[in-house]
Structures are given as C-alpha cells and as structure tokens.
Symmetry: D2
Subunit: 315 residues, 4 copies
C-alpha cells in the first residue's frame, strides 16, 4: 500500500518535472507569468518581438528562442500573452502552416481575447495536430502577474485544463473553468465591463456626496458597511484615487479594449444593455479627453471637471 | 481600582437603564427595531396608526401609547420609522405645536428621508425645545432589522449621536457618522442607488453570458474571484435570484423611492450622472411592468423578457 | 346689407379699441410683446422691477405704472412674462390679497411655467374674482417676440382664449389651444425638450460624418432632402452653427429650465424616458462646461472637444 | 442658332436612348426602381435570385437575364439593390473573376451599405476594369421607389455621378453628391439613425403629454408650429401612427440594420454618442419584443406598454 502511494507520488513528480513550457508574448503581464513558471523549476522557453523582453525573462531563468516556433518546440503546454486575438490567430496559422505546433499540446491563451476568434482558433489547432486551445481570461493586472496571484476564467475542454493546471498554479491564485471554448474570454470581458460600470457609478455617486460636503472616507466607510459596496469602493478608490496617485497600473485603452469586446458581443447576439452602453460612452469620452495611456481610474477627471468637486482625502 | 471600575460599570448600567425610548412608526422595519430595543431592557413606548402594528410591538415587550405624543412623552431618545420625510416633518410640526416633544431629547429618524427636509426638521426642533435631530439612513432590510444588524449612516451632531449610540447598538451592527444634518439621508440614498446600479449592470452582464451558454454559478464564481464583484454578485443574486425565489424582502417601490431621492439631489445641485439616470429609467420601466410591490430583484424579468435567457441555477 | 356689414365692423373695431391690456414682466421677451400690443393701438399699461425695462416699453407707446397692481388696474386682458411659475403665483397671491385683479379678466401667462403650478393659479384666481388664467407657452425667442411671430400653445378655457385672441394676434403668428389648464406649459416644455434632443442627436450624427470627411453643408443638404430632417437641421445649424456665430439668442440656462420642467413632469407621472434623460444629462454637462449664459447651440463644443472635429462651413 | 440647339437636343436624346442599364436585386425597393427606369424607355436588363421578382420586372417592361452576368452584360450603368454590402462585394468579386463587368461602366449601389466595404469595392472594380462604383444611399421607402421620388446620397467620383444622373433621375427626386467613396452610405446610415432618434424622442415626449390628457392632434399641431418639429412629427406620426395602421412599409430589422451601420462607424472612429447609443438600445428592445418584421414605427408599443397611454386619434 505504502509503496504504491510512493510510486504514484514519484510518477506525479516526474510528470510535473518533465512538463515543458513554451511562452510567446512577454509584455507587462507575460514576462512575469513566464518568470514565475521558470522559478518553479519548470523548463520554460520564451520568445517576444522585443529582445529586451526576452532578456528580462532569460534573466529570470527562462531559455530564449530565436522565434515563436522555437519557443513552442517540444512544449507540453504553450502559453500566449499577446495584444489581440487576431495576433493569436495569426500565430496559430503560422505555426500550423509550418507544422511547428507540438502534437496534442495544451495551449493556454491569456490574451484579453474575443470569444468567437478563440472558438475559431480552438477548431483550427484541434484539426491540425490535436492541440487543445484554452481561452484563459486573467484578472489582477501586472502586480497580480508578478505575485503569481492572477484570477483565471477558462473556456475549453476540462481535461486540457486539468493537464495545464499544475503549471497554471504557479501564476494563478484562482482558476475557474467557466464553460466551453470562448467562455473564458467572454466572462473576462464581462467581468471587466462590470468593473468599469462599478467605477463609473461610484464616481457619479461619490461626487454627488462630495458636492454636499460629505467627507469621502466616511462616505466610503458607510457604503462599504452597507449594500452599495463593490471591489471598487472597497479597494480601487480607497487605495488609488483618494491619494490622487492613480497608481493601480491598468491603462485606459486596455480597459476600453475589454469593454469593446463586450460591446461587440452585445451586437453579435442582439442583447439590449442600455446601462453598459452608457458606461462605454463615458470611458470613450474619458479616453478622448485623457489619452489612451491614462490610468483607467483617471476617468474620474472627466466628471470632476464638470462638477467642481473631487474624490480625495479630506484636508 | 477594581471598585472604581465596578462603580463606573454600575453608573453606565443605570444610565442605560434609565434611558427611555419613544418609537413612532412600526412598519416592516420599525416594529423589529422597537422590539429589539425593548428586548434589551430599555423602556420603549410605541405608537403607529395601525393597531395591529402596536399589538405586535406590545407582544414583544413594548408599551403602547394612544398617540404619537403619548409615545414620545418623557423619552430621552425618540425613534421614527415613517414612509416619507414629509410625514416626519408633519409629526415634528404637530409635536412642536402641542409642546409634546421632550426638551433636549435626541431624535433618531430612520426614515428613508430627503436631505433638505431633514435639515429643515433639524432646525425646527432645535429651535422649539433644544431637541437634536439625527437623520439616520439604515441599510439591511427587514431581516437586518429583526437581527439587530442594520448598517446606519448618520447625519447631525456628534454629541447627539454619542448620547443615542447605546440604544442604537441594540438594532444596528454598524453606525457611521457621515457628516452634518442631511448627510445621513444623502449617503443612504446614494448607497441604495449604487446598489440599484450594481443590480442592473450585473443583470445586463450575466444575461449576456447566459445567452452564450455560460452557467450562471460559474460566471458568478469567476467574477467574485476577480474585479467585477459587488455585494450584488456575492450575495443578492446567488441567494435570491438563482433560486428564482426573489425572497430578499425589499419592494420595488421602496427601492425606487431611494433612487428618486438621489435623482432629486442631482437636480438640486446640477450634477451630471448619465449612468445613474439610465439605471433610474430601467427601474422605472420595471415598476411599470411589475407593479410597485414586486421584489426589487425582480426587475431582471424586464430584461429577461427581451433576451430570451434567464438568471437561474443550471438544470 | 352694406350698412349691416359696416355696423359689425364698427362694433368689432370699437370692441377691440376698448380692450385694455396690463402687462407685467418686461424682459427679453416681454418688452417686445408689450411694444407690439401697444403698436396695434391697444392701450397697454406696463410694469417691471427694472426702471430701464419700463422706459423701453414707454418709448414704444406703453403707459408705465408704479407697480403691478397699477399695471393691471382696469385691464380686460392681463399678460405676464416672468422668470418662473413661482413668481407668477406670488404675483397672483399678492394681487388677490390686495383685491387688485380685475373681475372676470383674462390672464395670459407667457412665462415658461410648470404645469401643476399653473393649475393652482388657475383655480386661485377663478375663485377670487372669476379671472380666467391661460397658461401660454410661447416659442420663437426674442426675435419672434420682436417680429410679433411667436408660436403659442395655450392651456385653459376655450372662451377665455377667444376673448384674448384679438390681442394675442398682435404678438403671435400661431395660437393653438392644446387642452385644459396646465397643457400649454406642458406642451411648451415637451416641445423645447424635443428641440434639445434634436439638437444633440444632430450634433452626434454630424460630427461622426465630419470625422469621416463629409462636408457639413452637403451632409445637411442630403439629410434635409431625406427623412432625418428637423427644424434643427433645416434652420438652427445652417443659420447659427456653420458660421460659428451661435447667434440665435436663447441662453443655455433657459433651455435647461424648459428641459427641467419636462424632467419634473416625468418624475411626477412615473414616465420612463431614457433618451430624453440622456439629453438632459448632456445639456447639464454643457452648462457645467460653458456656463449658464452660453448660447444653447454652443453645447456642440462639449462634443467637439471630445472628438477633434467641428461643425462648420467647409474651408 | 436654332439648328445648333436642335442638334444638341438630338444628340442628348440619342445618348440617353443608347444608355443600357443592368439591374441586380429586385426586392421591395429594387423592383420599382427597375420598373421606373424601363418605363422611361431605357433598355433595362434585370436579374434576381427570385423568379417571381424577375417576372414582376419583366411585366413592367424590363428584359430578364439568366444570371447576374447576363444582366450587366453590355450595360453602361449597373444598378444593385441587395440586402447587405457583403452581398455586393461577393457579386463584385464574382463578376470581376468572370470578366463580366463591362469596362468603364458606372455602378450605382443602392444597397444600405457599410462605408468601408463600399470603399473596398470601389477600389476593386476600378482596378479590374475601370468601373466606377458609387455608393448611393436612398431614402423614401418602397413608396418612394414606386413613385420615382427617392432621395439619394451619393459617394464616389463626381464625373461618374454625372454620367449616371440622367438614368437616376427616373427613380430619384433628389440626388446629392455628399463626398468621396463611402460617404453616401455613411450619410444614409446617419440620416436613418437621426430618423430613429426623432421617432423615439417624439414617442417619449408625446406619451408624456398623452398621460397628462393632451389630445395628440393638438400636441402635434403645436409642436409642428414651433421648434420641436421634425419629419417624424410632421409626417410619420400623423400619417401612420395616429390611425394605429403602422402602414409606412419599412420593417424594424431594416431600420436596425441602418442604425447598426452607424454604431459600427462610431466604434471604428472612437466617437462618443451617448444619445444615439440609447436610441439603438430602445430599438434593440423593440425588435426583441415585436420581432424583426414589425413596422419600424411600432416600437412605440414598447413604451406604451410601460406607461398605459397611447398615441392615437382622440375618440
């Protein structure tokens, strides 16, 4: 009995040790994910268009490859973290055309992607070489990526997720399997659109109270002890807006990209959503005024500019 | 040292025992608050237009009075829980005219009131007999009232709140002093408007996912592990909507009243708030379709009716 | 036969000549209305808080009075053109208290008024002395007033309107009896809210085309030859915006006042109106940015500021 | 001098007689356009997937072809009236591949098309055979098509439009050249989105007045004499809604398609347009409730259902 358990344990251990990871896309999120996987002792080969990004990852223990095909060669689990779903699809097309995608590998795409493009990639790579594509929406930002504490929402096959889970555990604190292919990116974009909505309605409500002379800390304390609370009133505003530092680290154009995926989804399924549409318009105005690289929480300035009050610590 | 502590304790105890409470308005909220105060051993005299309501409170240990003046006679702390601020103002006018409001009493008004009416009452009763009016927004619903676990947001004088706090502690789990007269009702109405906004945007987002085939429990689990979470996604929808029971116990017209107070406040201070205005319209449509006494969470049916999906447990 | 016609003509002429008018409120609109009535040969006695305003009217042939009671003394038809309905009600209360309102006179109130306040005044003055109050919404602005070409929407009794019509004809090109007391002000405020909505949606649509490089004159010509046309695309934008003169002469705060009356009416009758609410928010933002005395058409600048295009003549 | 004029006239006449037209797409609009062109004596060869549609056109004097290539063979001016821009692009691709598109012909596309797809077709057919593609948005509905009184907004080259103008004159009462390729469809979709906005805001405003007891005919008369007027208040509602016949003949899904083109354009150029977005949501709700083939004016029923009033003739 004991020896049997020990054998299984040895097998599991050797399986995990033998897992090889290929990682393509080393931006603000990807570089930290790759570094954390390598830090766990898992062999991790990386590629990015930017040589500096590759150097960063190599400095954290990854192996550098000359191109994307080199990064994924022989990998059991492939990770991608790219700007857009069309970039992931282009990569998939190129790897398939070159026969470079490992047979039966699991592909974890952490790009903030578009549900129907992900469904298309899922079918293409399964057809080409039995690869299993998981659309994996992640939340938590660069800090969550660095801390290995991202929250993941995964669409695709359950057995593929089971295979990738031990590696994913090095970068993700929570992993939820939310449904079939496409569901991961859909839930991610809806989650971020709800976040955007909670940010904007909190701004409207709090600035109303600010104009009435209510101190912001006490308003937030009351709301957080009552029913109007959200992650925004509990964390984002107290930690990143009251100080006027706007130092969360998530750019407005990336937030708008996630909202935009939800808007496209609404269009595609003829779903009425008047409140989320208005939130989209407000962030659209925000980017028009503040530029794409403003911090996402800075949209408050559009409204502050119109009402003469501010969300800040009491003097 | 010990005897000194014992003496202070005795004093505190006798002070609390000697506090007399008058309570006017024994509706779904008021009756439980009065019962909890009486249950603490505090002498509590009550009145309501409805004899049944008075009977309920008497059954819980309160003393019944023949009229409002009788209920407040000799009280140190007066509580009101009435439909609207104008009812509280009418009561204040009548008690002042009759000289029935006890000198220097503290008046805790738990009505979902209107900031500027509360400010007017504050000034009137201070002028008439030195009474101190606290506008005390409460959150938590009838269940919170019954459990003595309401969250209170109080506007008015800090010393008056200190005086009333020991009695308030019997019905309120959290009490936050949010600012001068009017601020309690303002924060309450904004809190409830944020709640309404969180409800509606969650409905828009979740029904989008439901149309895409994502199970509601997994969507909620993912969102609650990520950044889109609110009290609504963590408690209201899992506990009261997924089951299709809609059994929270807060009627749509009462919710709309709170939102309406915020809308009036926006008008009064010329504050732009496009997203909260749209939320108001959606609840207005909800009441038009479902009637005033529908449960507030039932507004989801307006949207479900338009998209052919439902927020419910997976089959 | 001929002598009979001549007799009727003499009677009509003498009836009209014998009509005496009292006019209170000589602002940008009132002064021109009073001047046009006096210019018709009708004896017109006026009063305003501003001596300059009275001097203007006297210069146009009116008689000046020392106070409002003096202006209406002996009048068959009383006109008012005041800032708000509450001012009209205060005047009515004062005249009634002083017994200064002529028995059975007809009172034409051209103030941009509130329907339910007008209904209250209607009842008060009928009770006091049989006076007939007409709530008379007018459109056309100061230029329309000066040209005697205002459009009037009148609520109240048909026979009273018939009595006042010959005098009203000197300042109004079109008079429509729209319903019972209150209907005139209601239709006026809804009309102006539709105008505001047409302005704002035209701005959104035209700036979209401007960003695509379509010349504004041709876009307007096409729309005006098709189904998207309104008074705004046919007159306001071609005549007052393309030139960037913004010279129509209707201030933003007055426009917002009319919209506000509609918003209050929506509140009062629980009417959902999501699009008109959003228009209200946009004009609220406009006043916040541009100030109350900006021209109403200048709200375009809020949107231009966000999209980098302008509605102007092609270079 | 006289003989010279006669010669020019003969030349013009012979040029017009010699113009040959090919027409593809004989739906509710196309069949009437083709019939009117044939009725002018211009040789017109037609094709449609539906044999019934071809029979109708042949009955009106057109010649039937066996396929699209047959319809356009030898044509100087090609007309299309297809469901969507992608259908036009597929036709263009097929004709180009088959070498069936006449050299240097002018192609007038009256489809409610998408600006950037039209720009793509413009380039493709110019490259292939020097054909000149005009994107020609038309307004007026089937009745306008039948009466030969459509309003056209044309994007593309001015000289191509000049060539096609004599033929277009047989079906279009007004033709406006609005800009380069794409501009015609852009102006058309914005025009129809403004129409939709005017419809919806008129419904919100008029139902408010209906709830107050104002007769609809008098409300419309007043608004049409004042500044709130649009084509909707002057024609659509009086002629097609007051009677409750909803007999204009433009289906809700077609209206939504035009609005959708504008929404896509807003997305593409990052243009904030909060009011038009809300209008889109209201029509989205309308189609969800009434189905795609409801008349576009019937969206009023969504709002009537929520407010208990109706826009109809007084009893």
């Amino acid at each position: 009995m004991r020896s049997s358990l020990a054998r299984v344990s040895r097998q599991l251990s050797s399986r995990q040790l033998s897992t090889k990871v290929g990682f393509v896309g080393l931006g603000a999120m990807g570089r930290h994910m790759a570094a954390n996987i390598a830090a766990s002792g898992t062999p991790t080969t990386v590629w990015d268009m930017s040589g500096d990004a590759v150097d960063f990852a190599v400095g954290k223990g990854c192996a550098g490859a000359a191109d994307a095909a080199g990064a994924v060669a022989g990998a059991d689990v492939v990770f991608t973290s790219l700007p857009r779903s069309v970039d992931v699809e282009a990569l998939a097309d190129a790897l398939v055309a070159a026969g470079a995608l490992p047979k039966n590998c699991v592909w974890v795409d952490t790009t903030s992607g578009v549900p129907d493009v992900s469904q298309r990639i899922y079918a293409k790579v399964a057809d080409a070489c039995g690869a299993k594509f998981l659309d994996c929406g992640v939340a938590g930002g660069p800090k969550g990526a660095e801390a290995g504490a991202l929250a993941a929402m995964v669409g695709g096959d359950a057995d593929a997720l089971e295979t990738a889970s031990p590696v994913m555990a090095h970068v993700m604190g929570k992993v939820v399997h939310v449904g079939p292919s496409g569901a991961g990116h859909a839930v991610k974009s809806v989650n971020n659109t709800l976040l955007a909505a909670h940010i904007w309605v909190a701004y409207e409500g709090l600035l109303t109270l600010a104009k009435l002379g209510v101190p912001m800390e006490t308003a937030l304390a009351a709301i957080n002890a009552a029913s109007g609370r959200s992650l925004v009133t509990e964390e984002r505003i107290p930690n990143h807006v009251l100080s006027r530092e706007f130092d969360f680290g998530f750019a407005l154009d990336l937030m708008r990209k996630d909202i935009g995926i939800t808007m496209d989804t609404l269009d595609a399924i003829d779903m009425p959503a008047p409140a989320l549409r208005v939130v989209n318009e407000m962030f659209c105005m925000g980017e028009a005024k503040l530029g794409p690289k403003a911090e996402h929480m800075e949209v408050v300035k559009v409204l502050e500019d119109m009402c003469g009050a501010q969300i800040k610590k009491a003097d």
